[in-house]
């Protein structure tokens, strides 16, 4: 019950932010030339003015901006994301179709970046200023400094084209009709390159944070206490340093959830994955306002949810936090 009130409170606190984001985006897109009808007409190769006029009326584009914004927000209150003119179906259906790919990509990239970053960070901190540390830190810098689309393209060229080990793009073998285990392996193979591409930059950040955090915690008094107790070095690290060093890492997950969604736009485009990021990109190109706002709304909810989970996790890890509630 306390958990639910906490969740409700979080959502309530996020409402103003959500409202500002949606209204801001709505108004911003009014500044872009052209609208949904222009995009539709361009697709069919032109049309006569009366038909265009008719279409505008049909999609309520002839009304004033403020009236349409009010209308959109009112429908949103009823959890109605509207209808997409481009896809010809409710926005919510379009999004639900695209959501799994993004969730899978984000989930796998986040887990991989977190796990690998943590392990490498620990290794670097344990051998600080010796060659393993130098090697790991340099690698981290390279990952951080290289743009992810370039990583994607190079990975595709090397592993898919040159070696032929992995598929070059897409979310599954087309027309495979695979089931069960085979489907799982197929999806996994398709996810390897996009996950790596998206994860490497985050891995570099986690690695740096983990290394710094480990080094900082190692200097704290209770670590000296642990040594004075006669614990072996491994026990000192595992039982006393690690959990304390993880706290800033956990905070970072929440902060980077949004950044990762942004990064997935590039990766989904490069690897032709049917995800939310690419949907957002296409919606902008086609002036499909309803879909775009829907994507933003769902993404915002996703980020809020991840942050909520992170907060819970943090309270679990650090008794000082939960003690205050």
């Amino acid at each position: 019950m306390r958990l639910l009130t906490l969740a409700g409170r979080r959502l309530l606190a996020a409402l103003p932010a959500l409202l500002i984001i949606l209204a801001g985006l709505f108004l911003l897109l009014q500044l872009a030339p052209g609208d949904t009808v222009d995009a539709l007409v361009a697709q069919v190769g032109g049309g006569d003015p009366t038909m265009i006029e008719e279409l505008r009326r049909h999609y309520a584009l002839d009304q004033s901006t403020s009236a349409r914004l009010a209308d959109y927000l009112w429908r949103l209150v009823h959890l109605d994301l509207g209808h997409s003119a481009i896809y010809g179906k409710p926005v919510i259906d379009v999004i639900v179709e695209r959501l799994p790919a993004t969730l899978l990509l984000m989930g796998s990239a986040l887990s991989f970046a977190f796990a690998a970053g943590m392990v490498l960070g620990i290794l670097a901190a344990r051998r600080v200023n010796r060659w393993p540390d130098t090697l790991i830190s340099t690698l981290g810098l390279v990952f951080y400094a290289t743009p992810s689309f370039w990583f994607g393209l190079m990975g595709m060229f090397f592993f898919a084209v040159y070696l032929g080990w992995l598929p070059a793009g897409g979310f599954g073998t087309i027309g495979g009709g695979l089931q069960g285990w085979a489907l799982f392996v197929d999806t996994l193979r398709h996810l390897v390159l996009p996950t790596l591409t998206l994860a490497l930059i985050f891995l570099a950040i986690y690695l740096r944070i983990m290394r710094a955090s480990m080094l900082e915690v190692s200097t704290l008094d209770f670590v000296r206490t642990a040594r004075a107790k006669g614990l072996a070095e491994g026990a000192v690290v595992v039982r006393h340093v690690l959990r304390n060093a993880l706290l800033p890492m956990v905070t970072l997950i929440g902060l980077q959830a949004g950044t990762m969604l942004g990064g997935s736009v590039v990766v989904e485009s490069v690897f032709a994955l049917p995800g939310l990021g690419r949907l957002a990109y296409e919606s902008v190109m086609q002036r499909d306002l309803n879909t775009l706002l829907g994507v933003v709304f769902v993404s915002a909810l996703l980020v809020i949810f991840i942050n909520f989970v992170v907060d819970l996790l943090y309270a679990k890890l650090d008794p000082r936090i939960s003690g205050e509630h």
Binding site: T225, A228, P319, G323
Partner: protein, 547 residues
Amino acid sequence: MSTVLSIQDLSVALPPGADRSHALRHLNLDLRANEILCVVGESGSGKSMSAGAILGLLPERVRAESGRIEFDGRNLLELAPAELRAIRGARIGMIFQEPMTALNPLRTIGDQIGEMFRAHTRLSRREIEQRVLALLADVHIPDPPAAARAYPHQLSGGQRQRAMIAMALALEPGVLIADEPTTALDVTTQAQILKLIRELQERRGTAVLFITHDFGVVAEIADRVAVMQHGVLVEHGAAAQILHAPRHPYTRALIAAVPPLTPPPERAVSAAAALRVEGVSKTYRSGGLFTGRRVVHAVRETTLELPQGGTLGIVGESGSGKSTLARCIVRLLEPDGGAIRLGDIDLAGLRGRALREHSRHIQMVFQDPYGSLNPRKRVGDLVAQGPIVHGVPRREALRRARELFELVGLDPEATGRFPHEFSGGQRQRIGLARALALQPRVLVADEPVSALDVSVQAQVLALLADLRTRLGLSLLFITHDLRVAAQICDRIAVMKNGQVVEHGPAAQVFADPQHPYTRDLLAAVPGRHWNPPGEALAERSVVRDAA
């Protein structure tokens, strides 16, 4: 009595580039069974390094260069890491200064004490649980099962230190090293912890190496005393001899710098009030729109009077509201109610420009000489900043800063340097110059000497007393240290839980305390029955003149 631990000709080298080459030089020290040996010294004397050397816990790049540490027929400096680990905790226990940071914040007390048994014994889970509860009962923690389940932040400072002691003594080590174990504690808690250490030591016959900077604590607990200076043992002997007939000049100077607990004869203080605090309250509220609220009444309806040209001491333990009151008076905090009258003006009612104009007459000196000076600014600019804000031309303000530096006993040429180039005592002088730059009528000093070594402390106190008479300042002096309060204050106000429970002339409060809390405080002062010997007192003036 037999020697259990023997340090022989130990030298500890500091890494190249440190301010000196050795932390310890040719140290010889024997710790005997069933005694408390106090190692006393100021910061940088190497007293903590000697403890670190025994357990092989020296800071990185600091190493024992030569000598032996004999324990149980073996040289601890030559043991393999695994052999040393078997001794740490099991045979030699250690307690640290700050019990908050010395315990892992993420694990329960019971778990951390139990770790001792898990690391060194093969006891079953249930047995360990039993032992932990017995240990917690042994150190007189109320409700041991609850304490075992608690996290460090859920216990008070005194209870945390008790838990720490329980942990150090879990495996009944023959030697206990206590590194300033009561320095971070309030005076009444300190008295309890000292009593506990003494009690446990006597019951188990443990040899205790007790490291401290406080001669009051030494007088309270030591059987033998070793005095260190710059990494060299300058004098050691029985506690009575060192405390009452010190031989080495450094020991004498140190003891002379300890303020006696009896106030000097009363000074004639004007009856007029420089500052009147009337019914000031401050309440902290935490929590926002959606979360639960917590309300703390830091200061409640406090009324005080600071006599013209006199010193009013506000004493109390942490959480008594003394610092909050000081901050309200200089208007760093907004008081919730009441009046702060400086002459005819009520500062509490002023806002904006009028407040800035009048608040310059009350200036503050802060506790932490390291944190209270902006490290990126030259000290001369820091001192000149106040006058410049109030419209003094820059050149004039800087010239004045040089004069002030001379006034507080610093080289006027030093105004161009940065804060990190000064020692703690010098920084506190800079803080004083900064406060004096606005020519205040009232100086509020919040624990101005508690971060300083005892000899430096005596100098800064002497300077404050001197400036008070020379500049006709009225001084509001906040401290937790009753010895310091006895020396500098004309009047004393004792605060507890946001309220003044007793106030009156210093001599009267110390000689004949009325409120039970004041009596508790006085009874808790370490070494209250020991007053520095007369011969050493004569040298007190020497220290003062040196300032």
